[in-house]
């Protein structure tokens, strides 16, 4: 996907939105914009898998707002709208969580209980021979990939797009590679999004 990234630290302090302006921007968000932020946060958290460490989409939204209010990040409202600034912040924060994940950090039992796309719940601690919970989580990622690929197998174009995403290809690269229009791409992505969301929803993780 082509998403403009911007290092917020380059924004001079005099151009950074104040806490009052951030508050006003939140108050002015439309229902559609709020939903967009929520959905973005939910998918980014799903992308963290075991590295989310008990954090949820609300925590991610909160961290992004706090980053702007505490001047850790800056929002230049003349250049970028609030939704775009928030999604850039959430992308950066969740990438950072992912990078700083420590395999050896002690876990809560609640963090170890997992549910596959088919709704099978498992707790590695309850298994006598469970070597470690990481292995369990890793197997789940593999299982989830297999389930997504199985869902996509019904549509050739969808499976090719997902294959491109797995290899970190951008939307433009995928469209060029597959020689398809923006409209066809968007239509297929919509189907993928809805299908995967429905699968997650079934297991109570939408």
């Amino acid at each position: 996907m082509e998403v403009a990234t911007e290092n917020s630290r380059r924004i001079p302090p005099e151009k950074a939105a104040s806490v009052d302006e951030i508050n006003d921007a939140i108050t002015s968000l439309t229902a559609e914009e709020i939903k967009r932020l929520e959905k973005f946060a939910r998918w980014r958290i799903k992308g963290l898998g075991r590295k989310k460490m008990g954090r949820n989409w609300e925590v991610l939204l909160n961290e992004a707002v706090v980053a702007f209010c505490s001047d850790t990040r800056r929002w230049d409202k003349e250049r970028v709208d609030f939704v775009r600034a928030m999604t850039q912040a959430m992308r950066s924060i969740s990438d950072n969580w992912r990078r700083t994940f420590d395999e050896d950090e002690p876990r809560l039992e609640s963090e170890m209980i997992t549910t596959s796309l088919y709704g099978e719940e498992s707790n590695p601690l309850s298994m006598v021979a469970a070597p470690n919970w990481n292995k369990q989580k890793e197997l789940e990622a593999q299982k989830d990939i297999e389930i997504i690929e199985s869902l996509m197998s019904k549509r050739v174009l969808a499976s090719l797009i997902v294959a491109g995403w797995k290899d970190i290809m951008t939307g433009a690269e995928i469209r060029k590679e597959l020689d398809i229009s923006q409209e066809d791409y968007d239509k297929e992505v919509k189907w993928i999004r809805r299908t995967v969301r429905a699968a997650f929803k079934e297991r109570g993780d939408a």
């Binding site: 996907m1 998403v3 806490v19 951030i22 508050n23 939140i26 108050t27 968000l29 229902a31 559609e32 709020i34 939903k35 967009r36 932020l37 929520e38 959905k39 973005f40 998918w43 980014r44 799903k46 992308g47 963290l48 898998g49 075991r50 590295k51 609300e58 939204l61 909160n62 707002v65 706090v66 209010c69 505490s70 775009r84 999604t87 992308r91 992912r98 292995k135 989580k137 890793e138 197997l139 990622a141 593999q142 989830d144 990939i145 997504i148 997902v162 995403w165 797995k166 290899d167 970190i168 939307g171 968007d186 992505v189 919509k190 993928i192 999004r193 995967v196």
Partner: protein
């Protein structure tokens, strides 16, 4: 080097992140469709965002208060060699004011210029204030 399991984790993350990015390209109409289909209230999410702003403001206030209390405590605890006699104290005040004036005349306020008329019992307090002002100037210079 990535092992097989890390590879699956990364691939799953790449797919989820691509779907997240695709949300930014969704038409408002499609978002509205989902809003109609799903339960949930966007006002609840708005409140989460507003609560984050409030929490941040409160944190800033707490930090400012903490710093203020720290400064007050530090000012009250300041110890330095205090001259014995009122004359010596007045000389020291004059010297310190002269020093401050040389650094930054604007910041030396008129209240200290009348020090010669101050009662002897107020001299210790004035000396402490000037000392604190001088320390603040030094701290500013070091930043």
């Amino acid at each position: 080097m990535l092992n097989e399991n890390d590879k699956y984790q990364d691939e799953l993350a790449n797919i989820m992140n691509a779907i997240a990015d695709s949300v930014l390209e969704m038409a408002d109409e499609e978002i509205r469709e989902e809003l109609n289909e799903e339960e949930g209230n966007t006002e609840v999410v708005r409140q989460i965002l507003l609560n984050s702003v409030t929490a941040c403001r409160q944190k800033k206030l707490r930090e400012a208060r903490k710093q203020y209390e720290k400064n007050i405590f530090s000012f009250q605890e300041t110890k330095f060699a205090m001259p014995e006699s009122p004359d010596e104290k007045r000389q020291l005040i004059q010297a310190m004011l002269g020093n401050l004036a040389a650094q930054n005349q604007v910041r030396v306020t008129a209240q200290f210029r009348e020090f010669e008329n101050l009662p002897d019992e107020d001299l210790d307090g004035v000396l402490r204030q000037i000392y604190a002002l001088q320390s603040a100037e030094k701290a500013d210079d070091n930043q």
